[in-house]
């Protein structure tokens, strides 16, 4: 039986992943038509390639349906409680770096820290009769972060894309999202709280702790090649 490697199925993340493996003598290629999510691995024996959405890779690793997978730290920690028990880091791949941060309107001259945010949250609730809304797709990470930091009176509003636009659209007062250069934040007139870094993320090769590793030889050959 072969071991399965799951990698992101599209975009720059896929290309960089292919490059990263190629530099180590493991060649990933897509097969079939452009739209078909099929692929193969050469350069190492008995490995098969599974192309998946990056956001599904944590679940597949945790379920043991793939043996190895490439996805961001942000998605693993958001989607898998006790991720350390379910997956293990094989290698940090050095690309796809992004920070999960809290950002507020740049025009909020009075707000720079979580302490300010908490104060504003109390006043906002009093003034508007509703909680300050934070748009995000990282519900668990944001909630845990704010609970640990002791920030109260906020509501998380789900936003699966274009999160930076939610403030201008008045569906949220601030956001918690991934940023790399901060350009999109600036373009949307948002600024990062000085102590609002929730998580540093990068593309990472993970091993599933729950998948059965039937053939130790295949496993060793693969991991040694990457070492």
């Amino acid at each position: 039986m072969s071991l399965k490697l799951g990698v992101p199925s599209k975009g720059r993340l896929m290309e960089k992943t292919f490059d990263w493996f190629a530099e180590r003598g493991v060649y990933l290629t897509r097969t079939g038509t452009d739209r078909e999510y099929a692929g193969e691995i050469t350069g190492v024996a008995n490995m098969s390639l599974v192309l998946l959405s990056a956001s599904e890779i944590p679940r597949e690793l945790a379920g043991g349906r793939i043996h190895f997978g490439v996805t961001g730290t942000d998605l693993v920690t958001e989607k898998l409680p006790f991720w350390e028990q379910q997956v293990e880091v094989i290698a940090e791949m050095g690309f796809g770096q992004a920070d999960l941060i809290l950002a507020v309107p740049a025009a909020w001259r009075d707000v720079h820290t979580l302490d300010d945010l908490d104060d504003v949250a109390a006043q906002f609730r009093e003034t508007h009769g509703m909680s300050l809304r934070i748009a995000t797709k990282y519900h668990r990470l944001v909630r845990e972060f704010l609970r640990t930091e002791g920030v109260a009176d906020y509501t998380l509003v789900d936003s699966q894309g274009a999160t930076e636009g939610t403030v201008a659209n008045e569906t949220a007062e601030l956001i918690a999202d991934i940023t790399t250069t901060g350009e999109t934040l600036r373009a949307n007139h948002l600024k990062i709280l000085s102590d609002g870094l929730i998580l540093r993320s990068q593309a990472t090769l993970w091993r599933s702790r729950t998948a059965e590793h039937v053939d130790r030889a295949i496993w060793d050959a693969f991991v040694n090649k990457l070492g």
Binding site: P81, W108, A122, F124, R143, T155, E173, H189
Partner: protein
């Protein structure tokens, strides 16, 4: 072997025999009410479901909220209620904690004599749990609230501290700032070219800038007062000695005098109920990390040899909760819950 449900029914029957009315609150509660009370944190601890008509509903994480709502809507005074049923707790951090378990509760809504009502609830739990040899811990959130209310500082600072009584970490960092022991984070941008997006208005920003400027001029909380809060939170003794220590503290912190007298009256009421108060533990910081809206007497019963278990019973006074759910009305209230399945496990082990 008895089913936990039978055990729960038997416990509820005991409470009913002591004069409590049996109530059966719904399992599905309005998420809006719980979110308004507990904030977003409740989503990490309760299961949420939805339907197109009613919107978000939560599987009840406890009975207190629906019982209070029911009482405020239609209850006669005074009232004693009992109930038994499942509560549902979403577990994101500890896979060993049950996400569904039985609770049996007893709640008292009575204006006449709060000390006696506190003692009644505690003594009833102690009675039912007596065969298990548990250790009881008591506390009183009212002491800390009184101490904060008595700080010589601005309303704004007192209000911020009061809001974080149940979040010890932020409470501590605010107190350190206000006592001049940690730098104030106040930093203000001179101007911002950015257009103002979102619901928070320019007037709100200006108002807070003014409040911050005023706050910067507020003299620090005297260190004697800040230290007083620290000493108060460290009190951890058998009740009679705790009262002695608190009386000593109240010489320099007169704001807590009444709260100490309430504790003293409660202790006498407990003694009158036959509770061995000389052996009863008191911890001033107890009950601060639970999300419950306890604002006075708090207590829990623990298995001394099983530190891994949650409390077998817990309870306290929640006057403020009735105020928040009562839409203007309020009534002093105190109650407690038992976990029948844990009781059975401990009975089987002994």
């Amino acid at each position: 072997m008895t089913h936990p449900r039978a055990k729960a029914a038997a416990l509820r029957a005991i409470f009913e025999a002591r004069g409590a009315q049996v109530v059966e609150p719904p399992i599905l509660l309005s998420a809006e009410t719980l979110l308004a009370l507990y904030g977003e944190d409740i989503r990490g601890r309760a299961y949420v479901t939805t339907d197109a008509l009613r919107g978000e509903q939560m599987l009840r994480p406890d009975f207190t909220v629906p019982v209070v709502q029911m009482h405020m809507a239609e209850g006669a005074e005074p009232a004693r209620y009992t109930y038994a049923g499942e509560v549902f707790r979403r577990q994101e951090l500890d896979p060993d904690r049950a996400n569904e378990y039985l609770q049996v509760g007893y709640e008292v809504f009575d204006r006449a004599n709060p000390a006696a009502a506190d003692a009644e609830v505690f003594a009833l739990m102690a009675d039912v749990l007596a065969p298990l040899g548990l250790r009881a811990v008591t506390g009183d959130i009212g002491l800390l609230m009184a101490a904060v209310a008595g700080l010589s500082t601005s309303d704004r600072r007192r209000a911020r501290l009061m809001r974080h009584i149940w979040r010890p970490r932020r409470f501590r960092s605010l107190l350190d700032q206000y006592a001049g022991r940690a730098p104030m984070p106040a930093q203000v941008d001179a101007e911002s070219e950015a257009p103002l997006n979102g619901l928070r208005s320019a007037a709100e920003i200006e108002a807070r800038l003014a409040a911050l400027a005023e706050d910067a001029e507020t003299p620090p909380i005297p260190s004697q007062e800040a230290d007083g809060i620290g000493s108060l939170l460290k009190v951890q003794e058998k009740i009679p000695f705790a009262i002695e220590q608190l009386r000593d503290l109240s010489v320099d912190m007169p704001s807590i005098e009444q709260a100490v007298e309430r504790l003293s009256a409660r202790t006498e009421a407990l003694r009158a109920q036959g509770v061995d108060v000389d052996q009863l533990d008191f911890e001033a910081g107890y009950g601060r990390t639970s999300m419950e809206y306890y604002d006075g007497f708090v207590f829990g019963f623990y298995a001394p040899t099983r530190a891994d278990l949650p409390p077998v019973a817990s309870g306290g006074r929640y006057d403020a909760l009735t105020r928040r759910l009562g839409k203007g009305a309020e009534i002093p209230a105190v109650g407690a819950v038992l976990r029948p399945k844990l009781m059975m496990e401990l009975e089987a082990a002994s």
